[in-house]
Amino acid sequence: MSRRLCLLIFTLFIINALAVDKNNFKTCEQASFCKRSRNVNYEKSPYEIVPNTLNINANYITADIVNKENGHLFVLKLEGIKGNTFHFEIDEKTPLKPRYRVVDALQKEPTYEAVKVSSSTSDITVTCGENKAVISTAPFKIDFYQKDVLSVTANSKAKMHFEHLRKKLEGEQHQQNNENEEKDNVVDNNQQIQDEPGTWEENFKGHHDTKPNGPTAVALDFTFHQSNVLFGIPEHADSFALKTTVGNGDPYRLYNLDVFEYELNSRMALYGSVPVIYGHGEKGTTGIFWQNAAETWIDIAGTSNEQNVMESIVNFVAGSRNQDAPSAHFISESGIMDVFVLLGPTPNEAFKQYTDLIGHGNLPQMFAIGYHQCRWNYNDEQDVMSVAHKFDEHDIPMDTMWLDIEYTDSKKYFTWDHQKFPHPVEMIKNLTDMGRHLTFIIDPHIKRDSGYFFHNDCTDRGYYIKTKEGKDYEGWCWPGSASYPDFFNPEIRKYYADQYLMENFHENSPETGIWNDMNEPSVFNGPEITMLKDNLHYGGWEHRDVHNLYGQMQLVGTFDGLIRRSQNQLRPFILTRAHFSGTQRYAAVWTGDNAAEWGHLEAAIPMCLSLSVAGISFCGSDVGGFFGNPEAELFSRWYQTSAFMPFFRSHAHIDTKRREPWLFPEETKLIIRDAIRKRYSFLPFWYTIFYEHERTGMPIMRPLLAQYPLDKNVFSIDTHFMLSDKLLIRPVMQKGASKVDVYFPSRNGDKQGDIWYDIDDYRKIDHVGSESVTVNAYKVPVFQRGGTIIPRKMRIRRSAILMHDDPITLVVALDAKKHAKGTLYIDDEKSYGYRQGKYLYLEFEFKDGVLSSRLIDESASYNTKTWLERVIIVGLDKVPTEATLRTSSNQSTKLEIVDASKTSFTIRKPGVSMMEPTWSITLN
């Protein structure tokens, strides 16, 4: 019955919504705290530092702040963190009850650094390393300097607004106050807030929010003095460079929501929220991490990305900008002001400062970097196996088969539908035997069914999220009536994690991946398709306080469960839809339920770039588009684009036509096959940059401005991206394109650029600027930067893990000085052995006609069968007659040069083992 209802509801969805129904979601006007805070407009900020309250400690200072309008006191704490970072927080001095502060986002306590303080009546200067923060006392603002350059100012636009906790004035008292002749300004101001509709309760589309704590908003503005563009604050389906929102529609919204058929070029909230923003200009990059898990809106002003050409010329001639420096006004519904200021000064340094706080993405198992085949739904065991076999038949590599919700017994997670999947264990084993994996879905909603152990346990032990009355909250989701475990409670997380263990979930395997979907949480009958804000969580916190963190707390449980399921052996693979700061520690993220349209293909890049700079590098989009049926050309172009993005999965809605590659015309299948095989040929490179991502925290997928911060032309480019600092990718994303414009960036903002080589034919490009590149159906314009060495494996097998022992091909692309460098990382590709030093991390360098290799980490070792199959040298003018290999044991071997062409030649079969600590190949 419930299944039928669910289906009915679902069908209604399909019929009603051909695109997103915007009415389902609030605008800033409809969210009273956003409206109140956005309209704050002081000539001069009423917040001031209270004189003589400065307290100086070794690593931090504290001072009191007063709101002159009502005399309410706040405490400012400012501390220095190692690596060009400041942290400050502002909370009420004596709140009526504690305000929520996020504790689950940071990976660990930051490393604080000693501060030096000097103060006068007008300002307090806090110096930390080379940087300083200057606090102006009245009105309150903080200027942050990187060295001596003013980078960012907090409250320079006087938008600071802190709604302290207060008691609701009852009707009578209210009246009295109004009548009171002697009422002072303080009460008056309070009264104003009290009078606004939506302050003490709010209605939206028939949902009532009781707001027992009243108004609790916090808001603060930041001005980025050195910046031309702002970017970050995923997740939005919008351009990478943020657009001005002040006086131009709604602000960007961060509130994890299940948006059905989301719209492009929109600031509407999507599935995840990472409240980190960066400002970038030629003079430097600065970031602000606004640590708050409540609903947040970000109002952007003064970004120059919408300037027209004429304006830019005028500005250039005038030598100044006519606009103010860009600014971001953060507005959150509750919590405290908790801000990390990342002072860069380069983009990559700023990204690293953020990930050093939040945590670096973990190195995944090799299979997770391969190609994933998903669909809602593969119907039964036969279907799963036949699709897997078809991939072999068509010789298309594939690593993981996925199962969406229909595999369960009526959407009860941790159970199987034994009609359709009578032998799950055998099925998993059959896949594993073919070198493949299975990933299945576990959603957070729990079916309210008295025959379901999980539901019974949760009910008996009180594990569900409670309504404000203290009853189990009931919503509606895939299973019909459902409740939601409160993952904020460690006991519940442990219970949930235990369910993944082999002894509890027999029809499981330590190797399977897990997909956590609908974890915003999605509640079909809730306000904005999510949960009531006045629901209660562990510790008595309202859902309002913690909403954006909910999905991540589920991941904490899943991750723990998967780790324990394999006895701490295997690296878990988890995919999540909802995300927050720190999700990269647990899971990969995809861009949610997109559609089979060219625009959605283009949107995948800015969306993943925004996530990457916000620490979540393991990102991808549903190949082909989730909703709708892609035409053949769109489908193959999507494969080509995603083949160069970190997470590579095809996925489709249950109502779409089947779309395995061989169901398309032969030509399309061959293009897709070619794209996937290209992905697999780059696997050693992918694996190495994933490792380096864990090691350094810098993004895998980077916007051009990360590598070319001085070239103004790249600031708003989001059709191109880079992988590490080595490959430049500009996928074809237009229907019927026979040419695409590729922009080759400049290193100094002028004409000096890098040399680039087309990865297919090693054509050389050595000029800066746009070039029109001719493309056919198979072509993905990808260029290797001169000066880099990329490891590849040219023996494509049916899955990534089967390529483990295969030999390496090195592509050495030389720069103008005939020099190149690169790295290669090797380990067992699945376990945590690498954290105990079981790996090889090699550095290759080509210099003066000699290619040499050395171990970067000499203490680490790993027994590998991998050897060097060939070296392709690109960009050397003269082809040598032969080459000589010298190994560490002083043996020398003559090597043959083959396949010489104008731009490249190949050193045939050096055959040296990758375990060899040092070796060199000299060209003669």
Partner: protein, 185 residues
């Protein structure tokens, strides 16, 4: 009245052994059945002969496999390539001639004729015939190489295409040929 001429056979039935045409067809049918049965036997014999052609003695085949094993296990290029190359795993019988070196200094010509390479480079775990992968018949070196399974399904009916698997599936611990001849290590 018109006189109607009626065949004698229609009035008095002939005994079947006197119906020459009928007997002729019966005999043709019987002979053809016997011939087909005989052919079946012959085809079986033929396939045996093929096997003998490929591998004259069983122990010799095993010797080859050991050689192949050593070759694959030993990755160092210094080792001189083996001189016995009469029998090559993973090729079609019809290509046998192409893989046999008949005189010294003879070059191996890739099956698509794109390139000529010394016989020493055949099956040395490096792909030289990049256009068709034909120089590496039992190693994984060529991404487009074909390994022809030992058991070809066509010998029963005489029809069907060659049975092969991509060389990337040789010795990957997964049996792909029906007889698992792709897993010989």
């Amino acid at each position: 009245m018109r006189k109607v001429w009626i065949k004698q056979a229609d009035l008095i039935p002939k005994p079947f052994y006197k119906r020459k045409l009928f007997i002729f067809f019966i005999l043709v049918f019987v002979f053809s059945v016997i011939f087909i049965i005989y052919q079946f036997k012959f085809i079986n014999q033929l396939s045996d002969t093929n096997r003998d052609l490929l591998i004259t003695e069983r122990h010799r085949r095993e010797e080859m496999i050991t050689q192949a094993k050593n070759k694959l296990l030993d990755i160092s290029p210094q080792q001189a390539p083996s001189s016995t190359r009469e029998i090559i795993l993973g090729i079609r019988i019809r290509d046998l001639d192409n893989y046999q070196q008949k005189y010294p200094n003879q070059l191996f010509r890739c099956l698509d004729g794109s390139k000529e390479i010394p016989f020493a480079k055949v099956n040395d775990d490096y792909c030289d015939c990049q256009s068709d992968g034909s120089d590496e018949t039992f190693t994984n070196a060529c991404s487009n190489g074909k390994f022809y399974c030992k058991k070809q399904m066509r010998h029963k009916t005489g029809r069907g295409s060659d049975v092969w698997v991509p060389t990337s599936r040789i010795n990957d611990k997964i049996c792909d040929c029906t007889d698992c001849s792709d897993e010989f290590l």
